[in-house]
């Protein structure tokens, strides 16, 4: 076990985790998930928000099993390796709103950092301005870190703090498995659009568990990858990101899913400014919160209650994004999307300035 742990902590460990994501995501797409969306943490949490009725965009409502899979896979890895540590108390309410704005930014682009990488690997060149925006947002976050930005210490917490997000994940899975309906309400499943496209339940869940396990062991994080390069020229995590792109590109080629171009890409729009701007906001929010959406799920699985709050913020943000016409559609940004990005940047910068620790 110790030997395996050392492997996972090594450069080849993180590259392996990235490679597994890069291979499995296009396979999930082949098996039914939406185009260039084999895995997308932001989109899938948005679909879950829809399935729970937190927004009423009829085309994006589905209880994606990958998300509970990520949490539970990380939980299993953390339990096996003695790393399950219930903890909380590092500015959870701030993290909630960082999650809200991270989701709003991601839905202006239409994807989390993982999907940006997968879109690039599928030939969707609109991912290029988005990834530049992500890097720019993270660079702003690094500037705040250098100014002493710090959300404060978390503290050891009782077991219930650590178990509540895994329990929530199990409830979501049960809702999906039994397609629970409560009279008029209950879980809602899209009949058309991306929400109606999904890989078989057990495959999605299994992929979620495997990736959750590997990502917990290797600390795979797209935001951290860029942050560490900017902050301290450390390319360790970046190996995982590079592996996602390379392996997803090769897998897409093999499966006939590589279609290069800007126009007509699945669940995407071609407004470069807002593909860029949405991800500046998302990147800044991830950097201030200390992890990309995937990493927040894995942290939630290993007992980090604050990361769990960020996840709930993202799910809430998806409700705002679709209820208030902030989210983009293939036609372009929503009516109030650009304004929301600017408001979000102002709020996140204010948080960045306010949470500087005086030396």
């Amino acid at each position: 076990m110790a030997k395996l742990s050392r492997f996972f902590a090594s450069r080849w460990g993180i590259i392996t985790a990235g490679a597994v994501v890069g291979i499995l995501a296009p396979i999930l797409q082949k098996l039914g998930n939406p185009g260039n969306m084999g895995i997308c943490v932001a989109c899938f949490e948005r679909d879950i928000a829809g399935a729970l009725g937190l927004h009423r965009a009829a085309v994006v409502q589905y209880l994606r099993p990958e998300i509970p899979g990520f949490i539970l896979g990380a939980l299993i890895a953390a339990l096996i390796c003695g790393e399950f540590r219930p903890r909380s108390g590092s500015a959870p309410i701030v993290r909630f709103f960082l999650g809200v704005f991270a989701m709003i930014g991601a839905l202006v682009f239409l994807g989390c950092p993982w999907r940006a990488l997968l879109r690039l690997a599928g030939g969707d060149w609109n991912a290029i301005p988005a990834l530049l925006g992500l890097a720019a947002g993270i660079a702003i976050g690094v500037w705040f870190l250098k100014q002493g930005y710090n959300l404060g210490r978390s503290h050891k917490a009782s077991a219930v703090t650590g178990w509540i997000m895994p329990a929530f994940a199990v409830v979501l899975l049960l809702f999906r498995i039994f397609r629970l309906q409560f009279s008029e309400g209950g879980a809602i499943f899209s009949e058309s659009g991306p929400g109606s496209m999904y890989a078989p339940l057990l495959v999605s869940l299994a992929v979620g568990l495997v990736i959750g396990f590997l990502a917990q062991r290797t600390r795979l994080c797209t935001m951290g990858a860029v942050r560490d390069v900017i902050l301290m020229r450390d390319t360790h995590l970046f190996g995982g990101v590079a592996a996602i792109v390379v392996l997803a590109f090769l897998t897409n080629l093999l499966l006939g899913q590589f279609h290069p171009g800007f126009a007509g890409q699945p669940v995407a729009h071609i407004h470069h400014l807002w593909n860029f701007g949405g991800m500046v906001l998302a990147g800044l929010a991830f950097a201030l919160a200390g992890g990309c959406p995937g990493r927040q799920l894995f942290l939630a699985g290993e007992g980090d209650g604050d990361a769990g709050v960020f996840v709930l913020g993202m799910i809430t943000g998806a409700g705002f994004a679709h209820n208030f016409a902030l989210a983009s559609s293939p036609a372009g940004p929503g009516a109030f999307g650009p304004a929301a990005v600017i408001v979000g940047l102002v709020v996140c910068m204010a948080i960045g300035f306010a949470a500087r620790e005086k030396a």
Partner: protein, 69 residues
């Protein structure tokens, strides 16, 4: 004179940033206290990459890293 960096409860990159600042100031050995395995790995990787020696002790469910030249 020995230096202590208390990074318990902080999540990365804070423990790494604080340790790096301590390394720049000098004052060895530098003791870094962290709570998570992730922080332990990150601080160790940073210090070893910069050419320092790192010894890790587990203290209850915390870790003490002793960084020497």
């Amino acid at each position: 004179m020995a230096t202590t960096v208390d990074a318990r409860g902080l999540s990365c990159p804070q423990p790494v940033i604080m340790s790096r600042q301590a390394l720049e100031k000098g004052g060895f050995p530098i003791e870094v206290l962290v709570e998570t395995v992730t922080s332990r790995e990150n601080v160790r990787r940073m210090a070893e990459k910069a050419g320092f020696k790192v010894r890790v002790e587990q203290m209850g469910d915390e870790f003490k890293l002793t960084i020497t030249e």
